[in-house]
Symmetry: C2
Subunit: 211 residues, 2 copies
């Protein structure tokens, strides 16, 4: 799912770039040796939905690599000019041929080793109608006991599905945040240097309780 | 806050690009006339925190354009290799000199006219220590009645602050999703074509209630 080409030349003027730390910055960037343009690289958002019909969820069998032949929730790269909800609805239509009403934000899963953030929304299918798009071999509705857990394409999709069924059983949907790590270390992958500690919401509510 | 240079040349081989719709795609991309590399453009995430100390929130006065001299929550572009929480903590340290424990996801605000998603986390300051970074003129703690509402740099920051104080008064923090639109139409800005309808969580919980 990574389609980022290497930066060797300046996309503004066509001259070679070099890696250096620009003034006022603290990390190496691709900087044009001719016009000085700094070419930043940033993580990308993959947006998708959990499309619901009755007690079933709509999954797509991937027609493209990576993970060709494995099952996924409809999802793909957010495009310029879109909101996150619009991207999620568009991907659901493109990959699964389903028109959905997009509901609550459901999961935000960091995948730093491939520089992606996967975001899924709950979505209600308008009708039990769907069709395989260009990137899908097959699209089908599954109830919880039919989910092909061993053939799910990506860990973020498996996690989102597990949270969905747990929350539905509990009668309340939450917002689920998590970081996915690779099963094996990826050679050359950047290693985040800043550990993040977790604050509890009560620490932040305390001032209110003191008023 | 937009630093995306125009794409005129291929960053992989240096030859000119042209705008065309690649096979199997449905929108125009910058495609290299020589090596065929497709150069996708995607929205970027701006990550920040609401840094809390007692009943106060930490704000930074911007030392750079856009909105130089206006107040903001510490926030900036997510970098390669980071998670959203790590980016939020790093920006808080860089811009405000404050070490925070990052808590719950608090707001996700789409800003499609500049191709950005602004994401803020609640954060607890470790100590009442802070210092202006390279991109800040001044950093200060504000209680609710001291917030300089007329001098806030960006609508997404004002909205996040208003949600914060409302939620704190209510005694429960939510996750707030919204789309910001420009006050005036931006010439040449892409217009999202797919309307998004909203599903209610009850529609999705219904199957559980029927079981």
């Amino acid at each position: 799912m990574n389609r980022r080409p290497p930066i060797q030349f300046c996309s503004a003027c066509g001259h070679p770039v070099e890696l250096r730390i620009p003034p006022g910055d603290n990390r190496e960037r691709h900087v044009c040796t001719h016009c000085g343009t700094i070419h930043y690289q940033n993580p990308r958002n993959v947006l998708g939905t959990v499309p619901v019909w009755g007690d079933q969820v709509l999954l797509c069998k991937r027609a493209i690599e990576p993970r060709l032949g494995y099952w996924t929730l409809p999802a793909g790269f957010m495009e310029i000019g879109e909101t996150t909800s619009q991207a999620a609805a568009r991907e659901t239509l493109e990959e699964a041929g389903a028109i959905v009403d997009v509901g609550a934000l459901f999961s935000l899963l960091n995948v730093p080793h491939v520089n992606q953030v996967h975001i899924f929304y709950l979505a209600q299918m308008r009708e039990p109608q769907f069709a395989a798009g260009e990137e899908s071999l097959e699209v089908a509705l599954f109830s919880e006991d039919e989910i092909p857990w061993d053939d799910i394409a990506f860990p973020t999709v498996a996690k989102t599905l597990r949270y969905f069924f747990e929350d539905r059983r509990a009668g309340a949907f939450g917002v689920h945040l998590e970081t996915s790590t690779p099963d094996a270390a990826v050679p050359g992958a950047p290693v985040p240097s800043l550990p993040v500690h977790t604050a509890h919401t009560e620490d932040i509510l305390t001032p209110m309780l003191r008023v």
